[in-house]
């Protein structure tokens, strides 16, 4: 499946995917010497004695869940974005095109500003993210059918409505709560825990596997609706299942860490530039590269001494110029 001249690229991407988490174990604000890290891991694997040292706590309760969550979220938003771009046959589409981020942001802000402890941020962000996408889909349906154009336009309408709602909340909320909302809107892994992984992991893994299984049909869809129909594919139901799966995957990721910008848009493009437009490769490699890049970005913010920047700021700050550079270098991107 992998062309011979691209095998090296695939190997490098896979190598980085394994190397980055391994390196991540050894870096952080708390100094853990490599031999201590290895000793703690070996102790965990080979002996059942529960270790309660602070080093053990740093590694297993703070660092490892954070690494795993960054990998999961990077994978989720990149795969979902690659899927959206292929299904809509549009390189400008990101995982947030159908209003998911604005809906999730509204839900999270509502929870943080007014609803107190009874309505935690995660479920509220998840529910409102899904609600926003459902609204987009229902708005776009004309005579039972949704065209790509009407979906994108309805996404803009939904985004506008929820963004306005979010602005109102941010305008009237107390300053102390406002900071929490702003940080959430920029995405952060600071509070990552096993609980977050248990909440979002199953959605992300199931969604990614499902999208991965549909990669052949995505290729057919990329050729155009008529061609896909000629191949015997029910385009309407395929698109709907793709949208629903990609939305659930992204919503699960966004609800635990907030909105991470640019990774989703950028990663499938980089993969296409490296490997071509075959979705059988674009999807898995987007998952791998998205996970690696987001983890690397989070490593950068968590090793900084003192206070932490939200990781979404870093991905946007470096992602956008890097993306511009790639577009110039490839004369408009590798979209075929």
């Amino acid at each position: 499946m992998v062309p011979k001249n691209k095998r090296l690229i695939v190997f490098i991407l896979c190598f980085l995917f394994i190397l980055t988490p391994a390196i991540s174990l050894f870096i952080g604000a708390y100094h853990l010497p490599p031999n201590v890290v290895l000793k703690i891991i070996a102790g965990k694997i080979f002996s059942n004695a529960p270790a309660s040292s602070i080093e053990n706590n740093i590694l297993f309760d703070i660092r490892i869940p954070r690494i795993l969550l960054a990998l999961l979220v990077g994978c989720a938003i990149s795969v979902a974005s690659a899927c959206f771009q292929a299904a809509f046959r549009n390189p400008l589409v990101s995982e947030y095109i159908l209003g998911l981020s604005s809906g999730a942001a509204f839900g999270a802000s509502l929870s943080m500003a007014f609803l107190g402890e009874r309505f935690p941020v995660q479920p509220m962000a998840f529910v409102f993210g899904i609600l926003a996408v459902s609204m987009t889909i229902s708005l776009s349906r004309v005579k039972g059918e949704s065209s790509v154009l009407s979906l994108v336009l309805s996404g803009l309408v939904t985004t506008a409505i929820f963004t306005a709602g979010n602005y109102i909340i941010r305008y009237i909320v107390e300053p102390e709560k406002l900071h929490g909302i702003v940080v959430w809107l920029m995405g952060s892994f600071t509070a990552a825990s096993w609980k977050d992984i248990a909440w979002s992991g199953p959605w992300i893994l199931c969604g990614t596997i499902l999208l991965f299984l549909l990669r052949w049909r995505l290729n057919a869809l990329s050729m155009g609706d008529e061609e896909a129909k000629a191949l015997g594919i029910n385009v309407g139901s395929l698109k709907l299942s793709l949208i629903v799966t990609a939305t659930l995957t992204t919503a699960a990721a966004v609800s635990v860490v907030g909105i991470i910008g640019w990774i989703g848009l950028m990663v499938p493009h980089i993969v296409r530039m490296l490997i071509g437009s075959d979705n059988r490769l674009v999807l898995p490699l987007s998952a791998i590269l998205g996970a690696t890049l987001l983890l690397a970005a989070d490593n950068a913010v968590r090793t900084a001494s003192g206070f932490e920047l939200p990781v979404g700021v870093l991905t946007t700050l470096f992602g956008a110029p890097f993306f511009a550079y790639l577009i110039r270098k490839t004369k408009g991107g590798a979209w075929e």
Partner: protein, 333 residues
């Protein structure tokens, strides 16, 4: 008749400027601005919650004709000061104002926080615009206990109740001295390392912005985050583990309780968690640099050093009865 007209004309010429001068006076706000205000302030717009309490204690709440939505939405202020429910809202916050609504009230003065304030504060542009309509603007940015006392004195002058202002200041100083006196028993080596947290998770912490005026420092603790320059910011859980605070105090506005920190695996090896010394303060005594700041300090000290036997509930109750005319009705833990 001609002589009478002449006398009246001369009287107007000579006395009018004096009467004009006599109807105004100047005060200096905490930003060092000299502000010319009417001799008698009868109509005031107060946008800052920290000042409205002082205005109430100075028995001048009936002179307040406009407030901010922030004051109206406060959990505490409308309970302490029921009149607030009837005063028109003319601004969203200390910074975002409805200029037409303010002008319609024809106030003698407007009191708010200025652009120097860390979180919110009226911009210079808005201040100049309001002053352009002939409304003097007093900026009170309280960054220390001394500025807090100064602002109370100033409000006492503005609303011509300096006696009550002194009574309030003396009461605050008495509470402060009582706590500080007891704190002398704690040698520097026994001082607790304290962390103050807020927001959606305990990673949102207070840095060292307030320096020696930080509530934890005033209460006799060591601020573990003193190296971080910001007022509030986000830090990693690893950083909190490095600091390893002995006590964690949670803001009343935080979206979590001590139980959530005890159950959070990130913090299970921290002294404060291991020794069950995480506390959330009641919103009734919260408010940095309001007249209630000694209550917040006494609460902190009682949590830092229970051995000193500081009865913060009694201190809060005395204050509430004396200045708000009601007993302290918040949680007593």
């Amino acid at each position: 008749m001609r002589n009478i007209c002449l006398i009246i004309t001369l009287a107007i010429i000579f006395l009018y400027p004096n009467s004009l001068k006599a109807s105004y006076r100047t005060v200096i706000d905490t930003e060092g601005r000299t502000v010319k205000i009417p001799q008698r302030v009868e109509r005031a717009v107060v946008l800052s919650g920290t000042c409205i309490e002082t205005v109430y204690i100075l028995s001048a709440i009936d002179k307040v004709v406009g407030i901010s939505q922030g004051i109206r939405d406060s959990q505490l202020l409308p309970v302490l000061i029921p009149q607030l429910r009837k005063i028109p809202v003319v601004a969203q916050s200390t910074a975002a104002v409805n200029l037409e609504a303010i002008l319609a009230l024809k106030p003698d003065i407007l009191i708010t926080m200025g652009p120097e304030h860390t979180i919110v504060g009226m911009s210079n542009q808005t201040v100049e615009r309001i002053e352009g309509y002939g409304i003097p603007v007093i900026l009170l940015n309280l960054k220390s206990l001394d500025e807090n006392y100064y602002s109370i004195e100033l409000l006492g002058k503005i609303f011509q109740n300096e006696r009550k202002a002194q009574e309030l200041i003396q009461h605050m100083k008495r509470v402060f001295n009582e706590v500080q006196g007891k704190l002398k028993k704690i040698p520097p080596s026994k001082r607790v390392k304290a962390l103050y947290v807020s927001g959606n998770n305990p990673n949102f912490i207070a840095g060292g912005y307030w320096g020696d005026q930080d509530i934890r420092v005033l209460a006799g603790g060591i601020n573990v985050a003193s190296e971080i320059p910001q007022f509030m910011t986000t830090v990693s859980s690893e950083q909190i583990s490095i600091w390893n605070p002995d006590v964690i105090t949670i803001s009343a506005a935080a979206k979590y309780k001590p139980k959530d920190i005890y159950e959070n695996p990130h913090f299970k090896n921290i002294n404060a968690v291991k020794n069950k010394r995480v506390f959330k303060h009641p919103y009734h005594i919260a408010g940095l640099f309001t007249p209630r700041v000694p209550l917040l300090m006494a609460w902190h000290t009682s949590k830092f050093y229970p051995e000193l036997g500081i009865d913060w509930v009694r201190i809060a109750d005395d204050f509430f009865r004396k200045f708000y005319g009601m007993p302290y009705y918040g949680p007593k833990e």
